[in-house]
Symmetry: C2
Subunit: 411 residues, 2 copies
């Protein structure tokens, strides 16, 4: 495949607290048109190093994209250093200068003198307009290499790439088009998933399949190529249908939807309502469900009952059950689910009780022991989970398993 390099420019990207994320989006965009990212560099506002990086990149790659360093200050060295690295002149473009002046005028401001630096153009380069900021981009070809200089802020960089760079490079790798799809799986382990679907996907070279493990979700990444995007999509449809039918209910998301979006969509479609009672997840399930716009249609109420007294008062959990079996028990989980459903007058009640750690575990009830329960008008089911990981991971995995229990009921 054709090779690209991405160069992120700016000293702030070399601090212990910041990382370059523009390159992730750019990589996805380039992969779709059959271009592989072979190298990424992060360099500060450092003339000598940037010049060396640019020279090397242009020599070894067919596409080079830089982000950042196009601002109006002394630190913004991209234009100047790229021109020098390529041995090209840099000169003031009166037309670009006028546009920048106009832009400031439209905000009722006079252009600060230093912004004239943003009108400097490398000889032979095309100027890429930036409706979202003051820094125009540049595009040029040099010794068979396509070079794009883009601004650093994502809201300026992304539209500039999509509108001006993509059309110029999309046929570089030939007419081949690529498409990707991500399937998310819940309730099955990584090796169980591979065992089920390896006999299917190993028969295909196109699409290519990769299985990734990520908190408590397993992602199956498919990547296909064809003469058009529709051809590639059709190949994805074919394979993903076979994988889905093998995995059955375990595959929950096919278009990068989250679990809470999938559950929310099903609740909205079926017009069922939900109430949630949480102990160890501490509001995480309610927070995930209500992060979805429009969730007020189906999410009626949530309670976080950390104390036994709250479980009794707010949910009507039987005191004797807590005494006999403990707050972390299948009996209490079931009573919580029934109780919250009854009090909130919803179709479903979902409940979680468990020990998230790091403290609070015993030999009999260790950290990671969680019970989840789901009640509707006809019956109540529960599941026992033994979850590995730290407090954050136990909580997240418990919330995922509880939402997955509801999702499966809604199928």
């Amino acid at each position: 495949m054709l090779s690209a390099e991405i160069i992120a420019i700016g000293s702030e990207l070399l601090s212990p607290n910041r990382t370059d994320t523009n390159s992730l989006w750019l990589t996805d965009q380039l992969n779709r048109i059959g271009i592989d990212v072979k190298l990424k560099t992060i360099v500060g506002d450092d003339d000598a190093r940037l010049e060396e990086v640019i020279k090397d990149a242009v020599k070894r790659s067919r596409v080079v994209i830089t982000t950042g360093g196009l601002g109006p200050t002394e630190d913004d060295i991209t234009r100047k250093v790229v021109a020098r690295g390529l041995g090209k002149r840099l000169s003031l473009d009166e037309k670009v200068l006028e546009e920048i002046r106009e832009r400031f005028k439209s905000y009722g401001m006079k252009m600060p003198e230093r912004n004239s630096r943003q009108a400097m153009v490398i000889a032979g380069a095309e100027v890429l307009s930036n409706p979202n900021g003051s820094a125009p981009g540049l595009y040029l070809e040099h010794d068979g290499c396509a070079i794009a200089l883009l601004p650093g802020p994502p809201r300026e960089m992304k539209p500039m790439f999509a509108n001006h760079v993509l059309p110029r490079i999309e046929n570089l790798a030939g007419n081949t088009r690529f498409a990707t799809r991500v399937l998310r799986v819940a309730g099955l382990g990584e090796s169980a998933v591979d065992e089920k679907i390896a006999p299917i996907y190993t028969k295909y070279e196109n699409p290519q399949t990769t299985i990734l493990f990520n908190s408590s979700e397993i992602e199956i990444h498919l990547r296909a190529h064809g003469r058009t995007e529709a051809d590639a999509e059709a190949l994805l449809d074919d394979l993903s249908l076979k994988i889905e039918s093998e995995l059955g209910n375990a595959a929950f998301s096919f278009r990068v939807e989250t679990m809470e979006e999938v559950v929310g969509r099903r609740l909205a479609m079926t017009e069922f309502t939900l109430a949630v009672a949480e102990s160890c997840t501490g509001g995480l399930i309610a927070q995930r469900l209500t992060s979805v716009p429009g969730s007020s249609k189906y999410f009626i109420e949530g309670v976080v009952t950390y104390s036994n007294e709250s479980k009794i008062r707010l949910l009507g959990v039987d005191k004797k059950l807590i005494k006999e079996f403990g707050a972390v028990s299948p009996q209490v989980a079931r009573d919580m689910a029934r109780g919250v459903r009854h009090k909130a007058k919803t179709d479903f009640g979902l409940a979680v009780t468990g020990i998230a750690g790091p403290g609070g575990g015993t030999e009999e009830k260790p950290v990671g022991l969680v019970y989840i329960a789901l009640a509707d008008d006809a019956h109540t089911e529960h599941r026992k989970l033994t979850l590995p990981g730290d407090r954050e991971l136990v909580r997240w995995r418990a919330s995922q398993a509880a939402l997955d229990m509801l999702r499966r009921r809604l199928i």
Copy 2:
């Protein structure tokens, strides 16, 4: 300052879904001993490119650290390519091989033949033992450059750097030691913070001060140097005390604590208890508070009352208030705070009601309008917020402002 480069090796780091984070931790470690990271490269399992990157790095930097590519498979090319780039021989070290064999034996396994590759050592390099994995690291000096090859998994890389690399390079930059501190601020805008503290910090060249803006928190980063770490810390103490006293209650965290940790610590210290009633934040405040280990001591219960019916039944909010002023109103926020406190019999009741968007806004009550209220036994206070941002940001900012209201009351 002395310059370093970090090279992350592995094709998976060039996908659209993965990013190198090892370098952030390494940058912090290097900065403490007076070494600046000048360049970071991410390169795949690609012999030619890696060789070029290594050669350039060794020429221009005093310290070069690579992570990844030390595994037992064909893809793991770091040892081989670095040896070639430096023009040094690579040979099997029988002692290292024996150690790897022993390691497998201790797990009751026979070493797979391909793992012998991990016993290859570059001429002149010291072998760095890896108690957390099978890949030993390597350290060598070449033409005045200190080079460390470390494994990719953070739990193997970090102890290896701390135990074996740090002692070898910590005096390279001389005896100067660096220390950093982060102050977090809530309830003041970025320019208000700068206006207050610029007259103080501009008087100092050491420590250096940077102000960063990040969701709804402002971070003040201080960086000092001295002959010892204690000297540098003393300089930080001096300046941060002055800044803190100027900012008063607005500075809430001095040691990278989160808002929920600060509030939790104060509640635990004072032995006060808390209940939370949430509408638009949907459980986010409860979830943040209960993410802190030990929070069951002070967090008694939370309710997520999305519907009016829930507000009335669970919190005893006056029906007439909702009818007259609407669910998003100071009156209802105050009644929610009083109600949840009363029902849960806690010292404090904290409540949020608002419009997180994207839907649900009106001209009179637009998206981003949020009321927060706090009740104790003596009185109830409330605040009106007009928050910019999307649903996620409005919810986060509302949760932050509510927690900050409680924090200020606890001072």
